[in-house]
């Protein structure tokens, strides 16, 4: 009896890698994302005036976003491809609904009230556009024909125009670039690329006259911030002072004067990079940029190892768009680009874009972890 009891119970011990594979989570990518979100909590505590509430709210949103990531990672890429047209169609309907009955916040019509939740349909398009363009272009052998490129451009332009009309220039740029990246990866010829660039350069004046006065003002302010020191130019002037005064090693966590004295506007959202630069200096921001580059690099590796062209195109677009986000935000805060209102991904305070971004990373992981199961 005693012998029976003392006999060890037979159990299945499985290596960690097995569990990771079955959860469809990519460990390296996950590590990078968690590191980034830790940075976010630490910086938000400082930028929010040492209010732990802000970091906690961000943590709650992160948890929700990670649930979404986990769910997205379980969906087989082929199912996603089947859903591409439906998602895009739904997104378009919602965008039109927003223009017709949307809520107006901060002077723009971006939100849709669904009774229980306020919701920004342009977020769906951040996934739906690259998804559909990748699905469409991978239907036929790559590189795509001229007509298919034109069709893909139409897919991209419609939501971009609708979102720019809201008006939300930052998101419109991101969505357009996510689709264009797919076309680029699909192997569009260099000759065509240069022709498009030439046409765009010629069309720039046209675009200018179709901009909202506030958008024109932002561009003008970017060219000469001192024009409007009480208004829009104030952002850039203060942000440059904050970044510059950080120096090589920064003033130290919680020691940033510009952000704590509230010289710096929107310091928990769009201008959080300036807080990091002030408190952690050049060393801190270069490390942060490295982290972003590493996460993107992992995404690009996943793209290059993808089983199908569809997976490769989609993964590549999601990874590169993530980096475009970072570039547009940092460019804006350092005065390289106009102020278009794009948050620093996964670090800025705010829930909506975080959910979409992590859903995108979920799709990346799904593309990577579902590889062998579909091998013939």
């Amino acid at each position: 009896m005693n012998e029976l009891l003392s006999q060890p119970r037979r159990r299945h011990y499985r290596p960690l890698g097995y569990w990771l594979k079955n959860t469809h989570i990519d460990g390296l990518l996950m590590l990078g994302l968690l590191a980034l979100l830790t940075v976010s909590m630490v910086v938000l505590y400082s930028s929010g005036g040492e209010d732990i509430g802000l970091s906690i709210r961000q943590a709650v949103r992160m948890s929700i976003a990670f649930v979404v990531l986990f769910i997205a990672a379980q969906i087989h890429p082929d199912r996603l491809r089947d859903l591409a047209y439906w998602t895009y169609g739904l997104g378009l309907l919602l965008l039109i609904a927003v223009l017709m009955f949307g809520d107006i916040g901060k002077g723009a019509q971006r939100w849709l009230e669904l009774g229980f939740i306020r919701f920004q349909p342009s977020e769906i398009m951040k996934i739906a556009v690259p998804l559909l363009v990748a699905a469409y272009l991978s239907e036929r052998p790559l590189a795509p024909s001229f007509m298919r490129i034109v069709a893909a451009l139409v897919i991209i332009v419609i939501p971009t125009v609708l979102i720019a009309k809201q008006p939300d220039l930052g998101t419109a740029i991101l969505i357009a670039s996510s689709g264009l990246v797919v076309i680029f990866l699909a192997g569009i010829s260099w000759k065509l690329i240069f022709s498009f660039v030439a046409i765009l350069a010629a069309a720039a004046p046209l675009l200018w006259f179709n901009m909202h006065p506030y958008q024109q003002r932002r561009v003008l302010t970017f060219l000469n911030p001192e024009n409007d020191p009480l208004g829009a130019g104030y952002h850039i002037i203060q942000s440059k002072i904050a970044i510059g005064s950080g120096g090589l090693s920064g003033r130290g966590w919680l020691q940033g004067t510009q952000s704590h004295l509230e010289f710096l506007p929107e310091r928990s959202t769009d201008f959080i990079f300036a807080v990091i630069a002030e408190e952690f200096g050049l060393i801190g921001v270069v490390l942060l940029i490295m982290l972003y580059l590493l996460i993107t690099a992992r995404g690009l590796i996943i793209a290059s190892q993808a089983q199908t062209s569809f997976g490769g195109l989609l993964a590549g677009s999601l990874a590169i768009t993530f980096l475009v986000y970072v570039f547009v935000n940092i460019g804006m805060v350092t005065g390289l680009l106009p102020v278009v209102g794009v948050p620093l991904p996964l670090v800025s305070y705010g829930g909506t874009s975080m959910v979409t971004l992590l859903a995108g990373f979920g799709i990346l992981m799904s593309i990577h972890t579902h590889r062998r199961m579909m091998s013939p």
Binding site: P141, I243, G247, S309, G312, F327, P376
Partner: protein
């Protein structure tokens, strides 16, 4: 199968090579872009570090807004009704004060800072950002300023600031019409252009101050200054001046305004006088009133609750929001409806036995004169305010025809006057009753409505406006308080844009004349209900008395027996215009619980008319002396050179 053939068609390896080549290109391009970003950061944080560090630390560049000076408000004679008074206040910037509690204690010892100031300060401290100044004490005396200046070195971040604050030299006299300014609050922030209000502490809250906020406020300027560590300005780098707000000139006349207050003699009620030729409001008085200066630098809770909870409701603008049954003052308009719609003629007569019954009903609706007026035509019925004549007329018109006709005179709806918070009132119709109460209209209610009782609710402004329309025989000018504006420092006035007057679709000039004649009879006729006020007038006045029943008091209000009795008295009303055939002046008077329109309200209108036309008032010798010593300005247009 489909998938396999699909895959087979494509050269998988070639595609992968193509995509991977592009991925590598994208990766290299990204690295290039971010190298650019890092170079930019090196420039900002290493190369130009000293520059930005000094900007951030040693000499902070501050952008100080220069708030514009608020426009003044004058009456029609150029008497100042709202001005800006320089005062000194003690302000501190929290982020620049090293030891906040210690500083406040030391300041309390040095200057008189009481509990109320401290409470207000704490409240503001919570709302403001650390770099925005918070006021600790308003209105320092010169001695206190001197005492602080000597000790200023002990208090970094604290300063005496000279500011202009709004002052109303006439005090209560214009409280309701002009309104007041107050501190900008959360709701205000939502509607204003916040950029333009940088540095401005006050905003129009009611009356003309609110309605004309855009004109009065002006445009903000700014200056870029270098400040030292304590936040004191070292030198000015650049400045853009502010543009002051526009001065406003009103139609209101201070003399008429005073006359109205004196004539009301402490009774609750209101007087509205207008120039019917242009809709300009000459007097607008609601009694009781309050001192608007209390609100300017933040009213204390005690003062505010005293005003708010007073049973006399001084904050309530009766001219705009007081709902009173018009009573018999509605009769001229009902008579006009009867004539115009052909229900009666000037000659047609109705017999008044002292009561009226609907055909087939036995209920008797009483005339105010129980023994009856006998045979009445429209002239007699108006002069003696015969109710039976108007019961019969209203019955013949029917409620909906009456409603549609009276509605043209803006009775029971907003007149569109140029100050906010006007309230509509009610002109009943069968449709209204069906929609709001889901009840059918009873014929008996038509009779009551015909003598201005029952559901009818009008404001004193509406009565004055309707009297003006009657005076002008159908030409409608929207009531206006503001006549003109003037850019600060400039001489010429710019008249406010006025909308084109509307003419009512009433064809027969005879009908207008008949009604106006009957109103003249009220004052100059042998049996007119207000004949006592017309005796010494050099011209004819057209008017109508009214007495409105007070049905009861609300259940939640409590009065002692004596007050209760007073509150159950009828409201006294009177409308008039003069001269009857070339009108320059229209007036409406409502005295709450004043009893009889002829005894209480009509004499007030008489004083207003006498004042306007500079007629010698019938006063005792002492009263005459008192008035003479006051030497009121006469109503005349503003002279440009003042």
């Amino acid at each position: 199968m489909a998938i396999n053939s699909h895959l087979a068609l494509k050269d998988h390896l070639r595609e992968r090579r193509l995509v991977n080549a592009r991925l590598i290109f994208a990766a290299l391009f990204s690295v290039l872009l971010f190298t650019g970003v890092i170079i930019r950061l090196v420039v900002l944080q290493v190369v130009e570090y000293d520059h930005f560090d000094s900007l951030a630390n040693k000499n902070r560049v501050d952008i100080e807004p220069l708030p514009p000076q608020r426009g003044l408000i004058f009456d029609r004679n150029g008497v100042v009704l709202a001005e800006n008074m320089p005062t000194f206040s003690l302000e501190l910037v929290p982020e620049k004060v090293p030891d906040l509690p210690g500083t406040i204690n030391a300041l309390t010892e040095l200057l008189q800072i009481d509990e109320a100031d401290l409470m207000r300060f704490d409240e503001q401290l919570k709302q403001n950002r650390a770099f925005e100044q918070v006021t600790l004490r308003y209105q320092l005396t010169e001695e206190e300023v001197a005492r602080f200046s000597i000790n200023r070195h002990r208090f970094p971040g604290v300063d005496v600031v000279g500011r202009l604050i709004r002052h109303y030299p006439q005090g209560e006299l214009f409280a309701h019409a002009i309104g007041y300014v107050g501190r900008i609050n959360q709701q205000d922030l939502l509607i204003i252009n916040q950029q333009n209000y940088k540095g401005t502490l006050q905003i129009g809250k009611t009356g003309v101050e609110k309605q004309y906020e855009d004109l009065l406020h002006g445009t903000v300027g700014y200056r870029q200054v270098e400040t030292n560590v304590q936040g004191r300005t070292v030198r000015e780098l650049h400045s853009e001046p502010s543009h002051p707000g526009k001065d406003l000139y009103l139609h209101l006349d201070i003399g008429l305004q005073r006359t109205a207050v004196e004539a009301l003699a402490g009774e609750n009620g209101s007087v509205v006088a207008m120039d019917p030729r242009n809709g300009g409001i000459l007097a607008m008085v609601s009694q009781p009133d309050f001192d608007p200066n209390l609100f300017v630098s933040g009213i204390s809770t005690k003062n505010y609750s005293a005003l708010r909870d007073s049973p006399e409701r001084p904050l309530y603008d009766r001219t705009l929001r007081g709902h009173y049954p018009p009573g018999s003052t509605l009769k001229p308009f009902v008579a006009l409806a009867g004539l115009e719609l052909g229900v009666v003629t000037e000659q047609s007569r109705t017999y008044c036995p002292g009561w009226y019954s609907l055909p087939g009903h036995s209920h008797r609706y009483r005339c105010w004169k129980h023994q009856g007026h006998g045979h009445m035509n429209v002239l007699d019925a108006m002069a003696q305010s015969c109710d039976v004549y108007f019961y019969d007329l209203a019955h013949a018109l029917g409620i909906d025809r009456m409603h549609n006709f009276l509605d043209m005179f803006s009775l029971g709806r907003k007149t569109g006057v140029d100050i906010p918070n006007e309230s509509g009132g009610l002109l009943p119709s069968s449709e209204w009753k069906r929609n709001s109460r889901n009840q059918a209209w009873f014929p008996g209610e038509t009779l009551i409505a015909g003598i201005g009782q029952g559901f009818n609710q009008t404001t004193p402004l509406q009565l004055a406006h309707a009297a003006s329309i009657l005076a002008m025989r159908g030409t409608v000018h929207t009531p206006k308080l503001v006549r003109a504006s003037r850019n600060g420092g400039q001489e010429n006035l710019q008249l406010m844009p006025v909308s084109e007057p509307v003419t009512l679709p009433i064809q027969s000039a005879d009908n207008w004349q008949a009604v106006i004649d009957s109103m003249v009879e009220v004052i100059h006729g042998q049996r007119g209900t207000a004949r006592h006020i017309g005796e010494k007038m050099p011209f004819n006045i057209a008017g109508k008395t009214g007495t409105a029943q007070v049905f009861g008091i609300a259940q939640d209000e409590k009065y002692d027996a004596e007050t209760l009795e007073k509150k159950l008295h009828d409201h006294a009303l009177f409308i008039a215009f003069a001269p009857a055939n070339d009108p320059e002046f229209a007036v409406a008077v409502v005295v709450e619980n004043g009893g009889s329109g002829s005894k209480t309200a009509a004499p007030i209108a008489q004083k207003m008319i006498e004042r306007y036309f500079n007629l010698p008032p019938e006063l005792t010798a002492e009263q005459l002396e008192a008035i003479a010593s006051e030497s009121l300005p006469t109503p005349s247009e503003v002279v440009a050179d003042e």
